[in-house]
């Protein structure tokens, strides 16, 4: 029966699941607002050109269709690209920095399985028009605080500075083909092939070892001392300096207990330009959030402007959250005296309680049985 199926990778969310999501949204919105971020909404689908100027999503991951004017449209696979487009049209003479946040469903043509959905909810912040360590630290701190207020006990946020890797690669003197091969292997995390490729390349041995070591360097700030070659490269050492400063800034926020420095966070190397980070829970094999500095994106839409931000995968977070919070008190009203019942119900609702009317004409005994074992339920029976 086709009319009982839903497309692959999509889900119905039942009341208990929606409660979890709405609760997360509420907490996130409160947190973002307290840092002066304002909510925006962008269209659910955009011209393909906009989407492709964004994260450079692979086309096979997009849901594409055509409008009757012949434009190729794509359901948004993420929101940052749309916000960049929006900012370039509507905010170009705004006072910067602008702090924006969003909550939106996004669509990706992934192979569906646990934690991989074709439609899922994201929430995120974008800090537009601010450069420097204090902007980076603010955004990372919000990511830490976000996972904290969601009630996640143990999680880690890995941070890295992409310019360390990029400037070493630039210096290697490799031709662009080898360079993009190195990047590809690093992004695919195929370290075996990476070592093999590096072995055969004609570059400085120490540099080679450093490039090979970066994807697995991981720990506190001290790991930076374990990348020997970096001192020789001015750009790379400047990037390292900055990473240390950002770490120190996060200390001021009291946010470092969850932070690790991880030179292996090397994602979307063509998109991010500076500090990048990812968040993980020990209870899920996939990342929960990711973000970083993307100073070149807005330029693609004609507004040259630095920017940084992150997005949280809410459906994944929902999989690892501890049990739901207490609900408000719940009244069940039954009996035949509807004038009194309705008056009573409206009064209670005004006071903020949840009031449910029995519509089945059940007896008092039947209704008492219904609320048995439910802690915050009360029965009012008026006949």
């Amino acid at each position: 029966m086709r009319n009982r199926q839903i497309p692959k990778g999509l889900r119905d969310l039942l009341p208990d699941e929606v409660k979890v999501i709405r609760n997360m949204e509420k907490k996130a919105a409160q947190l973002f607002s307290s840092y002066a971020y304002e909510e925006v909404m962008t269209p659910t689908f955009e011209y393909l050109e906009v989407i492709e100027a964004g994260r450079g999503s692979r086309r096979e991951d997009l849901f594409l269709f055509v409008d009757r004017e012949g434009g190729i449209l794509s359901l948004r696979p993420e929101v940052t690209g749309s916000i960049a487009r929006m900012a370039s049209i509507h905010l170009h003479d705004a006072d910067f920095p602008r702090r924006l946040f969003y909550m939106a469903n996004v669509f990706r043509h992934v192979q569906p399985q646990l934690a991989q959905y074709r439609e899922f909810r994201q929430t995120g912040v974008e800090l537009l028009g601010a450069e420097g360590i204090w902007a980076d630290a603010e955004v990372i701190n919000i990511a830490v605080k976000l996972l904290e207020i969601m009630g996640l006990k143990s999680f880690k946020i890995s941070i890295n500075q992409l310019p360390i890797f990029n400037s070493l690669l630039d210096e290697s003197g490799l031709n662009s083909e080898d360079r993009s091969l190195v990047r590809q292997l690093v992004e695919e995390k195929d370290l075996v092939e990476l070592y093999r490729l590096l072995e055969g390349l004609d570059i400085d041995d120490e540099l080679k070892d450093t490039i090979a070591a970066l994807p697995v360097l991981h720990g506190g700030l001290e790991v930076i001392k374990r990348i020997p070659y970096v001192e020789k490269n001015r750009k790379a050492s400047a990037a390292v300096e900055e990473l240390i400063k950002i770490y120190d800034a996060l200390k001021l926020y009291g946010a470092t207990s969850h932070i690790v420095v991880d030179m292996g966070v090397l994602r979307n190397l063509d998109y991010y330009t500076g500090l990048v980070f990812e968040g993980y829970s020990p209870d899920l094999g996939y990342g929960l959030l990711g973000g970083g500095r993307y100073d070149n994106l807005l330029g693609q839409f004609g507004l040259s402007c630095p920017a940084t931000g992150f997005a949280l995968h809410m459906d994944r977070l929902a999989l690892v959250l501890p049990c739901r919070e207490e609900e408000r008190d719940h009244y069940l009203l039954g009996g035949g005296d509807f004038p009194s019942l309705i008056a009573q119900a409206e009064k209670l609702r005004k006071q903020g309680y949840i009031v449910e009317m029995d519509l089945g004409g059940h007896s008092q005994a039947e209704l008492e049985k219904k609320i048995e074992g439910k802690e915050n339920w009360t029965l009012i029976y008026l006949d």
Binding site: K156, S158, V192, D262, Y280, P282, G285
Partner: protein, 221 residues
Amino acid sequence: MKQDFLTIALSKGTLLKPTVKLLEQAQLPVSGLSEDSRNMVFSYEEEGIKYLMCRPTDVPTYVEQGAADLGIVGKDVIVEQAKDVFEMVDLKYGYCRFVVAVPDSMKDRNLREFNYRRVASKFPLITEKFFRERGLQVDVIKLHGNVELAPLMGLADMIVDLVSTGRTLKENNLVELVKIMDSTTRLICNRVSYRIKHERIQPLIEKIQKIVKGGTGNEIA
């Protein structure tokens, strides 16, 4: 992903013996570890190690989803499954290679002559990618075993298959036309485990790297 245990997915079959040997050399517990047992999970409380006995093709799935932190599996399987996992160490054993093979009578042909032909394989992804990257198009016929039979029976013009010695090909009057890639066994790691359980995983990886480099009896099996 249980935090207190380090869970390792192992490939049943031919890889198991050299794998157990490697684990032993890396001073991991192996007593009673065998696929003949009915057990699918082997727990070693004291050492905090758990092994899952898996079909090789399932190992990348267990690791990608975090049901196992680490996995030991052939590169051939990793490529065909295209899962998002860290590939950490080349363990060197379990060598085999992907080849395009054709009937004896076609042995001197150029690969281009097989454009638009039919190819039978257990590995449709690798097959399709290989031909596509060369600008060729083929009809991939997915089979689940005895692929050598397909050209004999006229089901396909050629096959893409894994070969270690080449004997099976010869027995079926097939010859290797092109090598697609070499494959050996790899140690793979879940992307989150690698970060969350770094203190346990990194030393283990370094130990295994040393063993493999030292070549202590673990050369190509």
